[in-house]
């Protein structure tokens, strides 16, 4: 029992770190590696409410989505989604990579603080005893929305939506256990990865 609680605590910490890292990092390879690690955390958070076999769908579907995005990103030319877009007239937000990263990091800390502050109300509302699972879900939802608000490119939007979706899955797992929902959510995550890959990759010129 204690081991399970420690596992959930570690998973909640892991998703907090990974969701923040997704905001701060720029290299697509590192971001996808972090996303893959995030799905491990999501698996343990969902596993606290669902049977392990059902919770595994989150991990497997998430990793497949990561593979799809990896293949799509590696097919892009060298100037793929590595750095934030440079504007001709730099603003305070985009003038340089480092200040932008600091801003994003501080913003994510604020979201995590907000998640901590609403945690008691959220656990009461969801009728859950498991504060850490709910905390993990709230952090993912909050950081996913923050990431979405700060992204303009398909790759960043995809990562943001996958993070938000993971948070929702963790919170919904607390209130409902359904194989159908698990299957549909897996399909939606995969569908998102495929749709974004479609938008990223230009078709090869047909010969002859």
């Amino acid at each position: 029992m204690i081991a399970q609680e420690m596992l959930v605590a570690a998973a909640a910490g892991l998703v907090g770190v990974t969701a923040t890292a997704l905001l701060v990092l720029w290299t697509w390879r590192w971001r996808l590696i972090v996303l893959a690690a995030q799905y491990v955390g999501v698996f343990f958070l969902v596993q606290a409410s669902w049977p392990t076999s059902l919770a595994l769908t989150k991990l497997i579907a998430g990793w497949i989505a990561v593979i799809v995005l990896w293949l799509a990103s590696s097919a892009l030319p060298a100037a793929g989604p590595k750095k934030p877009r440079r504007f001709s007239q730099p603003t305070w937000l985009t003038a340089d990579v480092f200040p932008g990263a600091v801003l994003r990091f501080l913003s994510s800390l604020m979201v995590i603080a907000a998640a901590i502050s609403i945690l008691p109300q959220a656990t009461t509302w969801l009728g859950s005893q498991d504060d850490l699972t709910v905390f993990g879900g709230l952090v993912l939802v909050g950081l996913g929305v923050l990431h979405l608000g700060m992204s303009a490119r398909p790759f960043g939007i995809c990562l943001a939506l996958l993070t938000f979706s993971s948070g929702f899955e963790v919170l919904y797992a607390v209130v409902e256990t359904s194989a159908m929902v698990a299957g549909l959510q897996a399909a939606i995550n995969l569908g998102l990865a495929l749709a974004i890959s479609y938008m990223l990759i230009e078709p090869a010129e047909e010969s002859g």
């Binding site: 490119r153 919904y172 929902v181 749709a195």
Partner: protein, 477 residues
Amino acid sequence: MNVALIWMFFPAACGAVLLFLQRQQRLVYIVGIVVALSLSLLAWQLPIGEPISLGSAEFVIEDSFTILGRSFVLQSNDRFYLVLLYQGLVFWFGGAALARVNRLFVPLGLGMVALLTASLSVEPFLYAAPLLALTALVSVPLLSQPGKPNRGVLRLISFIFLGFPFILFSGWLLQGLETAPQDASSLLEINVIIGLGFALLLGIFPFHTWISMLLLEGNPFAVAFVLYELPVAVSILGLSFIERYPWLITGELSTVLQFVGVLMVVLGGVWAGFQRHLGRMIGQAVIMETGFSLLAISLLGSNSQQALSLFFTLILPRGLSLGIWGLALSVLQNAMQGENKELPPEQALNYRHVQGIAQRYPVASAALLLAHFSLAGFPLLAGFPVRLALLDALSDESISIGLACLFGLAGLMAGGIRTLAVFISAEGVLAWESLETIPQRLLLVLGAAMLILVGLFPQWFTPFLVQMMAIFPNLSR
């Protein structure tokens, strides 16, 4: 044999097979049309859940199919909606062949309609929300080109992703209310959550921005298809909520729906009146259509039968007008880009590029204007009778709502008149000619004739549309 096999798995499987036949486009269109037509005929003729004799053999089409512990149920009263869904698909596939849409239109169109059928039939009904999100994802290749991210599509996906969790959570809360006593604060909480969910899914103000953005960069016909199918399916999910929990439609909710509906009609109309891009103009018309649907639903509290019949009667003129408008726009967009290869797609339909185009593409121009005026409620066109009935019903509730809607319609009408002026104001004197292909001319003339026919004889079509009310037995009682 069961309903899921016929109206869900079969079209989805056909779509999957057609994905591999992309080099034989003509075959893909023919197969797509034949499959959609067959399924609509089957929905019309095949009794569900009753014994069917075929020579000496007798069999029953089971009305439910269970997978992963949940059921997909289609009953006899769902048949009319299936007929509309698949018959509509025949019409859209016919137009797609001439609109130079993405090669994936037919396979993905079949997949989308299979998912929409699943969303209609899934039990519990709130699981329709993730199915609709999946439908939106399937539509992505129709709306954008590979390697060219479309901002409207990204925003659509974002709003759908943010919206469907609200629907699932509201379903969970509503189930809780069935066993616990209802109090005002929890009802308000549920209404807010449901409202947010549907606002995001339907593109209700202020989450409507993606609608016009889609039409800037995508093929107008494919976008019109998605903008017709998705909102109708989402609205039907909303009606399913009220069917299951009729106490949701309180006086306050009706007032909120009326306010939001009027807001969308008026804003859409005003924006249309000042619009200078033909693609965005459809977007404003779609925003207004969503507003009209909300206004029809708002009448559920006072007269549910009338409200439902108005809601379903809106669907045919909308589909017909959007289809013809989208096809005509695609013809004009392709023409503009053919004439000026360097013209970016998002600028091809600007007023300054289509000036005087009626002299070269008179059939497409005329069909576009008829579809536009039909949605603006111009007398004797398809959209007129149902708008008249809706305004009449709304005016009984409050004359100011009726007047506000008239103002919105006047804005859309003004947009149409401006488009007409742009189409016929050529620089210099040019000879009139018709550069559309013969099949394009035929289909556009047929569509325009249908717009006039539905407007002149609504009584021929309305009884069929009203029968779709049977999907909601409690509300239509």
